[in-house]
């Protein structure tokens, strides 16, 4: 079940998007998210949508695979759309079923919110689909390098993140094993009140936690033995170097941003 979640995973393919420098992709994601929330005019939406569809097409990640990522947020999505639909009372009532009254403004807000959320998830998940965890952390480390000056340990944070990503599948498997073992010992997850159910998690959580600590300890030793001594003087197998296509991508992104700002604040269609 845990394996079904595609969001946040890397999808191996050979596309322009995969080959772009992670810093460009991080910048692109940032621009996309900001412009998505700039203004709610239909023109903006159409522009963001065109941007998203183009990028998905370039990425060579199957659309069905990307859509699967939505499953993870389905509950949140439906919930927030319903809340908006039901509780916004301004505007003209368009649907009236007894105590449920839905207004045109409610519908509009719910529609914008829903599409915004979907586009947000699809767009950002494209970043992780096309960028390996290591590239991602490298990109973050380099992009945020300026924070080093104010004593933020950027390298350490990036390393922590990449190790966390590396160990998620390992610990998922561990969790699966522990659950099976405790089920074989007759653990009862189903019956009893809330307190009893929470307590039935202890035999799962404690061994998982201990396993994580044990692995962390081993890994720290293995890293040290392979000459790890922090970020200082460290070189890279795949250093981040901007190529022509990265610069071109930056140019496209900047033009897109300016265009979106123009559309939102200065254009006649805003």
């Amino acid at each position: 079940m845990l394996r079904d979640i595609t969001i946040g995973q890397y999808y191996r393919a050979d596309s322009l998007l995969h080959r772009l420098d992670p810093r460009v992709k991080l910048f692109g994601t940032l621009v996309y998210v900001i412009t998505l929330f700039l203004h709610k005019s239909p023109v903006n939406y159409v522009m963001s949508l065109i941007f998203l569809i183009t990028v998905i097409a370039i990425s060579k990640v199957p659309v069905s695979y990307i859509i699967k990522g939505l499953r993870a947020i389905a509950v949140i999505l439906i919930f927030s759309v319903l809340i908006n639909m039901l509780f916004i009372e301004e505007g003209k009532v368009v649907i009236d079923i007894g105590w449920i009254q839905i207004t045109d403004e409610g519908l509009e807000t719910a529609f914008y919110l829903g599409t915004r959320l979907i586009m947000l998830v699809l767009g950002t998940s494209l970043l992780t689909f096309t960028t390996t965890p290591n590239q991602l952390t490298d990109g973050l480390e380099k992009s945020l390098g300026f924070l080093n000056k104010i004593k933020v340990p950027v390298h350490v944070m990036a390393m922590i993140m990449s190790i966390a990503l590396r160990f998620i599948p390992v610990l998922t498997e561990e969790l699966d094993k522990i659950m099976k073992a405790q089920t074989a010992r007759g653990i009862d997850f189903e019956s009893g009140g809330l307190l009893k159910r929470v307590r039935s998690m202890v035999p799962i959580v404690v061994p998982l936690f201990i396993a994580a600590v044990r692995r962390a300890n081993d890994l720290a030793m293995a890293m040290e033995s392979r000459c790890y001594h922090g970020g200082e003087g460290r070189t890279k197998l795949r250093p981040l170097v901007y190529g022509k296509r990265d610069l071109a991508a930056y140019a496209v992104l900047i033009i897109f941003t300016i265009w979106m700002i123009y559309l939102s604040f200065y254009s006649p269609w805003r």
Binding site: K177, I178, K180, A181, Q182, T183, A184, R185, G186, I187, D188, V202, P203, V206, P207, I210, A211
Partner: protein, 287 residues
């Protein structure tokens, strides 16, 4: 009184094709009081197989019977079955979680409705059975040595008082002394308490030394199932699927090829020594 698998198949992923069968048409019956060794390499399906014995996995095809009752029919007390068929997975010490060793062993019996007092009594006995002394009962599991932790975890299953005790590689990672302790324990549980033991192992030596019956698995199917001496007589076929026969069996084969006509079905040190001595004595008497 038995656990019986009838044409059990298991697919990893319901949606995928032929290739992903972990088990294919398994027919296997294990009777009360038996000592069965299951061998095969990683991916042969033996770990998947044992998870069917206590209903942790549901077969994609076929049925599992416990005392002739289908364990997946509605109303079958599946959780109770897990008390009757104890399964001890690989590296069981990693599932210890309580503050003291004794508390941890009590976890199983209390899940099956025993009072704290009853559970403690059973657990004490189980711990003594696996060779853990009173003085350690109230220590934290994490203060114990690797071998002790393993035995404490085994006691945790034993305290559920199972009729069938399934162990997946219980000696993995232990040193020879630790391994012998576990194997002797299994023999004792089988002989003195009449518990049926199902031992999954990579080690042909371990299986040959303990089990009466051997099941050989390969690619999700049962290749051989029978008396250990009969099964280990298929040296050539076992080698073809990448498995070996116990050292002494293989030695006897080599000796016979060289004209040293020792009996072929030896499996242990004692048997081999006696067989060799028989021949040498006869030679001496004839000379």
């Amino acid at each position: 009184m038995s656990i019986r698998l009838e044409n059990v198949s298991y697919k990893y992923d319901e949606n995928t094709k032929e290739k992903s069968y972990a088990l294919k048409n398994i027919k296997l019956e294990i009777k009360k009081g038996e000592f069965v060794g299951i061998v095969g390499h990683t991916g042969s399906g033996k770990s998947t197989l044992i998870q069917h014995l206590n209903g942790l996995l549901k077969p994609s095809g076929g049925k599992v019977f416990y005392n002739e009752r289908d364990i997946f029919e509605t109303g079958f007390p599946l959780r109770e079955l897990r008390g009757k068929v104890g399964v001890c997975f690989q590296y069981p010490e990693y599932q210890l979680f309580e503050v003291t060793v004794l508390d941890d062993v009590c976890f199983g019996p209390m899940n099956f409705g025993k009072t704290r007092q009853e559970a403690e009594e059973i657990s004490r006995r189980a711990l003594l059975d696996v060779g853990i002394e009173e003085s350690i009962f109230h220590k934290s599991p994490f203060e114990l040595s690797g071998g002790q932790r393993r035995r404490a975890a085994i006691a945790g299953i034993l305290a559920m008082e199972p009729e069938y005790f399934v162990l997946d590689e219980p000696t993995a990672g232990l040193d020879p002394a630790g391994r012998d302790q576990i194997l002797n324990l299994l023999k004792e549980l089988h002989e003195k308490k009449g518990i049926a033991i199902i031992l999954v192992s990579h080690s042909m030596e371990d299986v040959a030394a303990c089990a009466d019956r051997v099941v050989v698995m390969s690619h999700g199917k049962i290749l051989y199932d029978g008396d250990k001496r009969e099964v280990f007589s298929h040296e050539k076929e076992l080698k073809e699927v990448g498995l070996s026969v116990p050292f002494y069996r293989s030695l006897a084969g080599d000796l016979r090829e060289r004209g040293f006509m020792i009996r072929e079905d030896v499996l242990t040190l004692e048997e081999t020594k006696d067989a060799i001595m028989d021949i040498l004595r006869k030679k001496r008497n004839n000379a």
